[in-house]
């Protein structure tokens, strides 16, 4: 194979993936029952641009295995950076442990009490723990909407793993309970200057796990947040 041929083929494959993303994957899927977003209502007509084309094209691509090649190499996907799904309907979390004498400790600080990120991290640290807020938010949102909603197994497992991960950072051997506290990132739904509506909320207990029995339970959380619910579900972290 000549070098020019490889270069040409690589370029064309990348263009193919680019057009696939642009034409077939770009759509507006943010749920309508999220609440009152003024900008969405004003611009709704612009947001349904590619829908018809997509249905046909995607059905062709779904039969191929090209997505595997793409995922493992160029990763040209429908990349979203700071779109609505990164902003609305999200909750931050803190992992708190209870010692047998009732003392509460927080060995793993992902977010601070004022919702800021834990800045002790260096430039070369990952955001894996912070990004888990998207998965935590999925559970909280669904639970707030429907109290009888069963938290899916994968989220149950995730909560256990987060708690255990945090407990490992703790020098105390005996922990009686793990808790996950949550708070809404109450982003304003229209321009209100530099006000910070998220500061009026208090952290609430969402998840509780008894270490000795391993039994987990979920608490009802109720925030008077001005915004809304979102039904958008993440499949892992978001960009």
């Amino acid at each position: 194979m000549s070098s020019n041929f490889i270069y040409k083929v690589l370029f064309l494959i990348m263009c193919l993936f680019l057009f696939k993303v642009l034409l077939l994957e770009n759509n507006y899927t943010y749920p309508e029952n999220i609440g009152h977003i003024i900008h969405q209502e004003n611009n709704n007509y612009k947001l349904t641009l590619f829908k018809t084309l997509q249905n046909y094209g995607n059905s062709i691509f779904n039969y191929s295995r090209l997505y595997l090649l793409n995922n493992f190499t160029f990763r040209i996907l429908n990349f979203r950076l700071f779109n609505a799904q990164h902003i609305f309907g999200l909750y931050q979390y803190r992992v708190i442990h209870q010692l047998p004498d009732g003392t509460l400790i927080e060995p793993l600080k992902v977010f601070n009490e004022d919702l800021s990120s834990n800045q002790s991290a260096t430039l070369f640290s990952s955001r894996y723990l912070q990004a888990l807020l998207y998965s935590v938010s999925d559970a909280v949102r669904e639970r707030r909407k429907n109290l009888s909603y069963d938290i899916p197994l994968y989220l149950n497992k995730l909560f256990k793993v987060i708690c255990n991960y945090s407990a490992q950072k703790c020098s105390f051997k005996k922990i009686s309970k793990h808790f996950i506290y949550v708070i809404p990132i109450d982003v304003p739904n229209s321009y209100i200057g530099s006000n910070k509506p998220w500061l009026k909320h208090k952290w609430q207990k969402f998840y509780e796990e008894d270490v000795t029995t391993g039994k987990a339970s979920y608490h009802y959380v109720d925030f008077n947040d001005s915004s809304f619910f979102s039904t958008s579900k993440s499949t892992g972290f978001r960009y």
Binding site: M1, R75, N83, F124, S126, R127, L129, W198
Partner: protein
């Protein structure tokens, strides 16, 4: 028609490769990758919580990646580059979720192979490049790969309610966990600034890839890309995206003949 397309594709290559810069960037990238894999190992419980059945294989891959990356700091060897890429891409595709820094590490480790290895022998000999002009083509493609991602993000913003309304920056700066508070407050209290910055952000994402296609504007496009990485590093503090983005983009500079530009 096909001839014209071919001619266009080949005309995108700059024909210049700054070998010193490529070699130094290789070194820095491999050191960063070691840090990245160490972070991956630290968070194994969380990142691979749904892969407990193959956790031994994942651990093996992590340490293989660490070992080959460590060797790559000292040795310039094609087998090592290929092993680095295979282990990194497998680890990242198996993990729970996928972040921007994962993307940058994956595609950089892929394109390092094409940029540094001129030929490999599998069943038959495959030549990636014979001369610097052909080699510069792979550097161009690497940049194209990064910028496609940003371009797609720009298109996404055009379809997004908060960005369509020109208030995207306001909402982003309203996320208390992302940006530095004092800086965010400064921007949020000025509505006109919010609108201007939101428009500029979308315009940047939309034009940076098309600009890159023009040889004369490529340096400008890369400089814009640097600005983007720096903003993600400060005031956004999206850790690890900034450093890896800056390092990866050194490769893109390597295709520009700076002595000619200056």
């Amino acid at each position: 028609m096909i001839y014209r397309i071919e001619k266009f594709i080949f005309s995108l290559r700059s024909g210049h490769v700054n070998e010193k810069l490529v070699a130094n960037t290789n070194l820095i990238f491999h050191i960063l990758s070691i840090l990245f894999i160490i972070r991956n190992i630290e968070h194994t419980d969380i990142l691979y919580l749904f892969r407990s059945d193959i956790i031994l294989a994942i651990n093996t891959l992590q340490y293989l990646a660490l070992f080959t990356l460590f060797l790559s700091v000292f040795i310039n060897n094609k087998i090592l580059y290929i092993l680095n890429f295979l282990s990194i891409t497998t680890l990242l595709n198996l993990k729970y979720g996928y972040n921007v820094e994962d993307l940058l590490f994956q595609i950089t480790s892929l394109w390092i192979i094409f940029i540094n290895v001129n030929k490999i022998k599998l069943f038959r000999e495959i030549t990636f490049w014979d001369n610097q002009e052909q080699r510069s083509g792979y550097i161009f493609l690497f940049g194209f790969n990064i910028l496609i991602t940003i371009f797609v993000s720009g298109i996404g913003k055009m379809l997004d309610p908060i960005w369509v309304g020109n208030y995207g920056i306001y909402y982003v700066m309203s996320l208390p966990w992302i940006s530095i508070t004092s800086f965010a407050d400064l921007i949020r209290e000025n509505e006109l600034l919010v609108i201007i910055l939101s428009k500029l952000a979308v315009i940047f994402e939309l034009i940076v890839m098309p600009l890159y296609l023009f040889k004369k504007l490529r340096l400008f496009s890369i400089l814009l890309l640097y600005l983007f990485w720096f903003i993600l590093m400060f005031p956004m503090r999206l850790d690890f995206i900034g450093p890896i983005g800056i390092v990866s983009s050194f490769y893109l500079i390597a295709q520009i003949n700076l002595s000619c530009k200056l």
